[in-house]
Amino acid sequence: MSKKSYRQAINEALAQEMRRDPTVIVMGEDNVGGMGAPGEDDAWGGVLGVTKGLMPEFGRARVLDTPITESAFIGAAAGAAATGLRPVAELMFVDFMGVCFDQIYNQAGKFRYMFGGQGTTPLVIRTMYGAGFRAASQHSQCLYPVFTHIPGLKVVIPSSPYEAKGLMIQSIRDDDPVIFFEHKVMYDDEEEVPDEPYTIPFGEANLTREGGDVTVVAIGRMVQFANQVADKLEKDGIGCTVIDPRTTSPLDTDSILESVAETGRLVVVDEASPRCNMATDISALVSQEAFSALKAPIRMVTPPHTPVPFAPELEDLYIPGPDQIEAAVRAVAGYRA
């Protein structure tokens, strides 16, 4: 056990699985870096260094740089997964799904059903998401609701380094296509992460705080903010249960419903755009399945329905933060019909 960053945790998961299973390969744009160029090998290890060091250990046959050609290489990863490999392909920013989405949702995600249960597609697509990097509208989105919508895909959104390692190893060992969302502002976050390989099962939420007054379901980076708010409000006598679903497909609906049955109050915190996101999905679930338990209207904390802005002042306004979460929790905790 030692302190590791989110970046190191993912890198370690990849390396350990590549050592364990020779069919695991890694591919993406600049995942090694400097392919065909005159300078040093392993120049980048991915745009933010997550795959650094893999090529020197595993060689170019298993760590492949690609041209900037997402349709071809994401599709190739799907085809390779259907024919005997376990590819981990990097879609650098999830915003780039627009140039390769067919290969993900019409091909990889549907093979098993369309083919009547034939074969498996053990594909992992790693992708960066989220605002806060001053990366503007085309490099900052949280598009996991779009993937969650597609039957056949699994969607994994680790909220910390510990979660990232265990969920990545599970993703690689899983026999279905997995979209693995890495928040770009979390790569340097550190916490204690076991050195040995371990898995975290899909569809089992993590209760990061437990309290009896309000249930806060938070996704990805928002879990950190929800935890901060829970710790602060506990001193004020408001107890929050914070639920990190870990995966939005499958979604641990039982944990959410059980907690709401106890607290009667729900806040959902989602960095994704507000229409048809996880906040609306989870709110609808609770409205339908736990209506009689509710003591207050459900509150959703999300960004506004706008593209992600560039100017730091605007982007900071855009991203849901602890202040909005706290206001929402206080509002539902103090609600009187």
Binding site: T23, G75, G79, A80, G84, Q107, G116
Partner: protein
């Protein structure tokens, strides 16, 4: 003339005739309303699928198109299972969940017909990468139409296959029409020059001539197996039916299809060639035709009598585990 043994010639004729009868029969059955959805028939193009696939084995992969029945049969898919699938039956090749546009048999190396034009080439790059990485010696073939040849996925795959030096053969089946739109209008430049531009060999092939296809495919497959990378075949052929069943083909010239059937029929050309050279006897071919006809009759009867999927099948096979 290309030297092929009698067994291979018999197999070629049997497969081409099976495709023809299968498609002609689906055409008439579809008109009765018995087949759900829409189907795209391959009749007229048989020499391409068979000429290519007879150079492959079960560890080689192909990806097909929406017009996929011929590729399935040529790659060894079970005809009864295919017909049941087209009828949406529970013991169809895909459990009735895929239908005409998604027939697949991974054990035979058939990665699926594909409802998305240009959907197959990237997948085939992946199958070729698997073959290369796992050292199976396999190759992978992407069939695309002239319409699919213009998709970005196809052109990106040319590039990736070249850059990664993959054992891929791109077979552009140019039947002259992308739905209703003439390839003469819709395709900029030339297919073989496109190949050349990506640094791979491209060859024009007469898709009505089994022997021309077979020979060109053999060269491309050998090249791929030897580790020399991808190549492209531009196969010119014609389709006997419309884009899909129910297409009145108002965009085609008067007499065009009749001329195609009369003058460019790959089965007739094959028969002439093998009987005139004494490789096979006319009676032998007649016998194959009778057997194929009976086989298709049986496939249709089997499909009509087969059970539909059960209600519980709706929810299965979405994931390996969930």
């Amino acid at each position: 003339m290309l030297q092929l043994n009698r067994d291979t010639l018999v197999e070629a004729f049997t497969l081409m005739k099976t495709i023809r009868d299968f498609e002609d029969r689906v055409h008439t059955e579809f008109a009765t309303g018995a087949i759900p959805g829409f189907v795209h028939l391959y009749a007229g193009e048989e020499a391409s699928a068979v000429g290519v696939c007879l150079n492959l084995n079960d560890s080689d992969y192909i990806a097909s198109t929406h017009r996929g029945h011929g590729h399935c049969i040529a790659k060894g898919c079970d005809v009864d299972g295919m017909m049941k699938e087209i009828y949406g039956r529970r013991d169809g090749l895909c459990g009735g969940k895929g239908g005409s546009m998604h027939i697949a048999d991974l054990a035979k190396g058939m990665m699926g017909a594909n409802g998305i034009v240009g959907g197959g080439p990237p997948l085939v790059c992946g199958a070729a990468l698997s073959a290369k990485t796992l050292g199976t010696g396999g190759v992978a073939v992407a069939f695309v139409g002239d319409g699919g040849s213009n998709q970005g996925t196809t052109l990106e795959s040319y590039n990736l296959a070249k850059v990664w030096n993959l054992p891929v053969i791109f077979v552009v089946e140019d039947n002259g029409y992308a739905e209703t739109t003439a390839s003469a209008w819709a395709v900029g430049g030339s297919q073989t020059k496109r190949a050349e531009a990506f640094g791979m060999p491209g060859r024009e092939v007469d898709g009505h001539d089994f022997f021309d296809v077979y020979e060109a495919a053999q060269e491309a497959v050998e090249r791929a197996r030897a580790g020399d990378g991808p190549s492209l075949l531009h196969v010119r052929l014609g389709r006997h039916y419309g884009h899909f069943e129910g297409d009145a083909m108002a965009y085609r010239a008067e007499g065009e299809v009749e001329a195609l059937r009369r003058d460019k029929d790959c089965l007739k050309a094959f028969r002439t060639r093998v009987t005139e050279t004494g490789l096979l006897e006319p009676e032998q071919l007649d016998q194959i035709e009778r057997e194929v006809g009976a086989r298709i009759d049986a496939a249709v009867a089997g499909a009509i009598g087969a059970a539909a999927p059960a209600a519980e099948d709706l929810l299965t096979d979405v994931y390996a585990s969930y």
